[in-house]
Structures are given as structure tokens and as C-alpha cells.
């Protein structure tokens, strides 16, 4: 599944200072959800932690979700409106992570 991931507000520093990543994440690489192959945000976060975050993962995640203070948008929509970790991702979705914790 082709996805565009964008890191901002300082989070890009955790992935070699690259803001935009075009990635291919295969749902079957992760796990089967109720028999059908699909990718949810929870899986994507695990994938990101394993594949994109090069340093200080604790700045990005806390437990199995993003660290409080990190905003997430799926196709420019606040993930709090789409079910957060349970948000289902689709082909060509754009997922943006912005830290609110840096600077002022």
C-alpha cells in the first residue's frame, strides 16, 4: 500500500531530517485483522517505529500510540475524528505527524 508520511514540528529530526516519506507498507506484513487484510494506524505506527525512526523513539511514541502532544492527520483530517489507532488506511493516503512540543 502506497502511503505518504509527513513529519513536522521537529519530528523530522527523528528520521534523518527528512520531512516527507513515500513508503510502501504491505498489510500482510503486519497482521490479519478479522480475516481481511487491512492496515490500521496502530499497525502503521509499529511499522514507522521499526523502519523510519532513527533516534529517540520515545519522542514519537509512548506505549502503543503517539506521544501525547503529537498531532496526527489522515488526509488532512484530525485522527481523533476517524478512530485514532483504529483508523483504517487506504491506498495513497497521506498521514501527517506534527509535534506540538517544540519551541514556542
Amino acid at each position: 500500500m502506497q502511503l505518504t508520511l509527513e513529519f513536522g514540528g521537529g519530528l523530522e529530526l527523528l528520521c534523518n531530517s527528512v520531512k516527507i516519506h513515500n513508503v510502501n507498507v504491505e498489510p500482510q506484513d503486519i497482521e490479519l485483522q478479522g480475516g481481511t487484510k487491512k492496515l490500521i494506524m496502530k499497525d502503521l505506527l509499529t511499522w514507522i517505529r521499526g523502519n523510519l525512526i532513527k533516534e529517540r523513539p520515545e519522542m514519537f511514541m509512548k506505549g502503543d500510540t503517539v506521544r501525547p502532544g503529537v498531532l496526527v492527520l489522515v488526509n488532512d483530517c484530525d485522527w481523533e475524528l476517524s478512530g485514532q489507532l483504529n483508523t483504517t488506511l487506504e491506498e495513497k493516503d497521506v498521514v501527517v505527524f506534527i509535534s506540538t512540543l517544540h519551541g514556542g
Binding site: P68, L71, C77, D78, L81, G83, N86, T100, G103
Partner: protein
Amino acid sequence: MEEEGDAKPKKAGPRQCCVCNQRRAALKRPKTLEQICRECFYRVFEEEIHQVIVENQLFKPGERIAIGASGGKDSTVLAYVLSELNRRNNYGLDLFLLSVDEGITGYRDDSLETVKRNEIQYGLPLKVVSYKDLYGWTMDEMVKMIGLKNNCTFCGVFRRQALDRGAALLKVDKLATGHNADDIAETVLLNILRGDIARLSRCTAITTGEDGPIPRCKPFKYTYEKEIVMYAYFKRLDYFSTECIYSPNAYRGFAREFIKDLERIRPRAILDIIKSGEDFRISTSTKMPEQGTCERCGYISSQKWCKACVLLEGLNRGLPKLGIGRSRGLNQENSKDVKKGNGARSIESKQCGSLDF
């Protein structure tokens, strides 16, 4: 009604904005839990700030206002929104950007570039004052001498005064800063954790220093950080977001994280902490520092010398510990009339003073 309480939809079809009932909602407001579309969000966000400005009479027509601009998200959004509101509502204000160059290579030099772009983008004149010019030391030079232990104390004390000096040079009537609701809630907690009653009692005031030469106000006092960042993101505002290379500041970091954890469980917590701060009553038996002026530079001070002069004297004499912690400081050496309790309290330094009010 396609809304199903807070049942977790897999990917619920496009939810509609609860204000216009037409467009697709783009975010959930932490303050009200409303789901709202971008256009309605812009409107309510700006309108609420306008209401805060009007209800608290933050500005008067014809005033010259400096916006403390770091290039970060809060001050960038503040500069943008204030210039919009000034135009739209005919505030009649002369707005300026005021930046402090601490002299931190790889941090402030980059963020100042952002402020310089903001100067052009928003058409607001910019004034930069530097530690080097004001004090003879850049932050880089200070850190070489004092190390990474108390550097945030130095920086905070000098920044606060530098902003006042810059504001005086610009001949402004007031200084507006980008402190948001999350920052203020955090500061309330920190002041409780430090037992700093004097600061606790004034840190929630929307305008401070009205008795001094340049009052300061916080138009974002009730504005959530989440909304500021969302606003900047949706409007593609140009801001700088890198942590200062010298700021470990663990104590404030924990408080910040605690507030964010609370917000996740109950977003109202932030406004409630501010309310608690506002409604505190200080017992009359609590000793409060008396405000005077520094004998050396004339700046407001509750001591014989202001904190900046004490720290600067330490730097120049090669005694950087002067004025840090509870060790003997200049004020104790020089004046016998300093009350013991007060002396110790105000000499106890506060970390990273960008939030120090």
C-alpha cells in the same frame, strides 16, 4: 444524524462540521469537543481571540504593540492572527515584531531567518535585540563559561529583560507574547511544585506589569496549543520548530508531559488548571517580595540589584555561580536589609524563562 456517540468508527464516512453542517469536519476541538471543518475552525479560532482581546481590553486604539517573535509556532500564529484582526476589526494598532538574538548558533540564527520571512509575509516591521549588544556576551560564550547546568536561568533572565529593552527602543505601549493555554497551565503547576507563591499569583494574569514601563499581555491565554498548531498547519504558516540546543530543562519537561497526558484523558483539564490558578487566594500572612528598582540599571527588581545585573556581574568577574541557587550572592553581600525569606526565594532560579511572568 450519522453520529454515533463515541463508538469507534472504523473509518466513519465523512463526518460533517457541527457548525455549518455542510463541509467535512477536519478536527476535534479540545476545548469543546466539537468536530469542525477548516473554514468554520478559522472563524471560531480568530473570533475567540478577538473576544478575549475585547473582553479583557488588551489594546487601545492607536497603541503601538510589539509581538515577541521567536519564529516558533505560537508567535508566528500570533503575528498572523493579530495583523488579521487588527485589519478586520479596526483595532487601530501599530504592530511590530520584536525578536531576541540570544546568540545560539544553529538554533536562534535559523529561527531568526523565519522571523525575517514573517516580517515580509505579514508586512510588520522587525526589531532584533541581541544579548551580545545588550550584555556583551552571546549565549554560546556564556555556555562556554558556565556549562550546561544553569544556562536556562541565564537565558531566561536575560531574555525577559532584553524584550523590555527592545520594546523601549521601539517605543511601544505593550508587548504581546504567544503564551498559550497549555503553557500557562504548565506554569501554574510548576509554580505550585516550586512553592513560588508570588509567581503563582500572577502567572495567570492576562496582562502583567501594568505598573511597570511596558505591560505584557497574552492574547492566547485560552487558546489550546493543539489548535494553534492545527491553524498553522492548515494555513501553511511558516514557522521554525527545533528544540534549543542548550535546553534539557527536565523539570519543565515533566510538567509539560503531565499536562499533555491529562489533556488526552480530559481536554478541559488545561482550562481548569488555569481557572484554579486564577482563583487561588494568597493568605495575607504570606510574605511577598516588594517591587523596587535595580540600583545599578534601574530595571524592576525586588532586590538591590536585578537578577540580570547579578548574573552579569558573575560572568564578568568569572564567578558564574553568583546569583544561582542559595549560595551567597551579591545582594546578600551588599545589603543587610534584605529579608531572609524573600532573598532566598527570588534568588532561587527559575528554569527557561521564556514562560517566566
